[in-house]
């Protein structure tokens, strides 16, 4: 049990001592271990993405009384693998009038932050690549750079639908970033730290979803919009703007956007688990397994919502954000602040628990 819990930590430790046995300098050992962690994380992200696409197709099929992919491999398990191979084989088209470098860089810039975000995700007890003291701030900062990639994609394509779609995406993502961050603020106020390991440690007795249910709701709605998932999947709109910023992209470049979307889904779910659902904490099972279970619970929740609600109109989307979510998140912060102060008073008076 103990052994399983520290499986990956022990693995890293033995790797470290193995490198030390080869007579490397401590700096080189650190670099190598970080490199191994990066490779591990990228493998985790890509495998997740590969099978999340399959999961999404299966789940949507079951919601709609269909069977979903069931031809390629047993139960269709190789479907997405074959899809990726097909995408690699596709011709990579660049419109002649496109802004060459902007067009080329956009899919890269959308994917890099998606992977960078995993640096601060605590996958289990002691399993965090870099435990920054501003972990959650780093996460927010990196995740908000994705916006620029969508604007670049829209601009670089030199196509008016792409530009409109790109601007619409940016408007949506920038707007929803605000309630998303404010909803996290309540948790940070309770913890008194931006460090991921501190946030997990603070949920020893009680998950923050109990203390901050409104914040979780705001986070969930805003994250759905940030991820451009249904019912807020407005960057694409067949009638008005075709496929939005990805209209001109083909083959692997399009796949990069697609991969980033799912990589972001995993990372946002990981953050939700860490901040609201007690992180890797849980009885009996190894910590990383608990983390995975909660992570997939969150992902399934996102999918459930996506395949239940019809997409909403762009102006309704903006109204929901500016007239409802943002004021609500302010109220949540106010109430949290007052609550913390009252609790402190109680404790100071000696009436506390």
């Amino acid at each position: 049990m103990e052994k399983l819990n520290y499986l990956f930590v022990d693995l890293a430790q033995s790797l470290r001592s193995w490198f030390a046995g080869m007579g490397l300098s401590p700096f080189a050992i650190d670099m190598l271990v970080v490199l191994v962690a990066v490779v591990g994380i990228i493998t985790f992200v890509l495998l997740n993405v590969l099978y999340l696409v399959y999961l999404e197709r299966k789940i949507s099929a079951y919601f709609q009384d269909r069977l979903g992919p069931n031809r390629v491999g047993p139960r269709g398990l190789l479907q997405t693998t074959m899809d990726v191979l097909k995408l690699i084989g596709k011709e990579d088209i660049r419109p002649t009038v496109a802004d060459r470098w902007v067009f080329f860089l956009a899919p890269v810039i959308v994917f890099v932050p998606a992977v960078m975000m995993y640096a601060v995700v605590p996958f289990g007890e002691g399993m965090i690549a870099v435990d920054l003291n501003i972990g959650i701030f780093y996460f927010i900062a990196i995740s908000s750079t994705t916006t620029i990639a969508f604007l670049m994609a829209g601009w670089g394509s030199n196509n008016k639908y792409s530009l409109l779609g790109g601007m619409r995406t940016v408007a949506q993502m920038v707007s929803y970033e605000i309630p998303l961050v404010f909803s996290l603020l309540g948790v940070i106020m309770l913890t008194g730290s931006l460090k991921m390991s501190d946030i997990v440690a603070a949920q020893k007795d009680m998950w923050f979803i109990v203390l901050q249910p409104v914040a979780f709701l705001i986070f969930f709605i805003a994250a759905t919009a940030e991820l451009n998932r249904g019912p807020f999947d407005l960057p694409e709109g067949e009638q008005e703007i075709i496929a939005g910023p990805h209209t001109e992209y083909s083959g692997m470049k399009f796949a990069m956007f697609f991969l980033a979307e799912y990589a972001n889904l995993v990372s946002v779910s990981a953050i939700a688990v860490t901040l609201f659902l007690g992180g890797w904490r849980g009885p009996w099972l190894p910590s990383w397994l608990w983390f995975l279970i909660k992570l997939y619970g969150m992902i399934l929740l996102f999918m459930w919502v996506r395949w239940t609600y019809p997409r909403i109109r762009i102006d309704h989307l903006m109204h929901l954000n500016w007239k409802f979510l943002l004021p609500l998140s302010f109220v949540n912060i106010l109430v949290t602040g007052v609550g913390i102060k009252l609790y402190q008073w109680y404790q100071a008076m000696g009436w506390g628990w």
Binding site: A61, Y62, F63, Q64, D65, R66, W304
Partner: protein
């Protein structure tokens, strides 16, 4: 209360998540077609009097009939073809046939590689007679009745 409808919607999809899929595994499982299904066509050459009412009834003019005078000055059928590529499967030809010679079949797998292949040649006297045997080997005899 706000949000009740949203929760109700989630409940409905959850019910379907665990429900039974209605997907028909088509090439493995054949569909159960109704008797009046509009599939391909079959011509009962024995019944056909080559009157051409079906060709006239056709809104898209896809039925081409050739006939000649036979013994007893009776009209006899020489050639019957339907350009299925333009066919609406409206059934006006089947309805208007006075002798019930043209009928729908249950065959709906009509995809073909070339445009020429979409033409359904139901009868041709010349090829029929050079083939020798009186029995027809063309698609004309897979009719549902007669």
């Amino acid at each position: 209360m706000y949000g009740q409808g949203l929760l109700k919607g989630l409940g409905i999809t959850l019910k379907h998540l665990f429900g039974k899929a209605v997907t028909e595994q088509y090439p493995d499982q054949r569909p159960n077609l109704s008797p009046r299904f509009h599939g391909s066509f079959a011509l009962d050459v024995e019944k056909c009097i080559a009157c051409g009412i079906c060709a006239k009834a056709c809104p898209n003019n896809v039925i081409k009939i050739a006939s000649s005078k036979g013994e007893n000055k009776k009209r006899r059928l020489d050639d019957y073809k339907i350009e299925l590529g333009y066919c609406l499967f409206c059934g006006l030809c089947v309805e208007s046939c006075p002798t019930d010679a043209i009928n729908f079949t249950q065959d709906f797998e009509l995809a073909s590689y070339t445009r020429q292949d979409t033409v359904l040649h139901l009868y041709n006297r010349a090829s029929h007679e050079t083939d020798g045997s009186g029995e027809s080997d063309l698609a004309c005899c897979q009719g549902t009745e007669g």
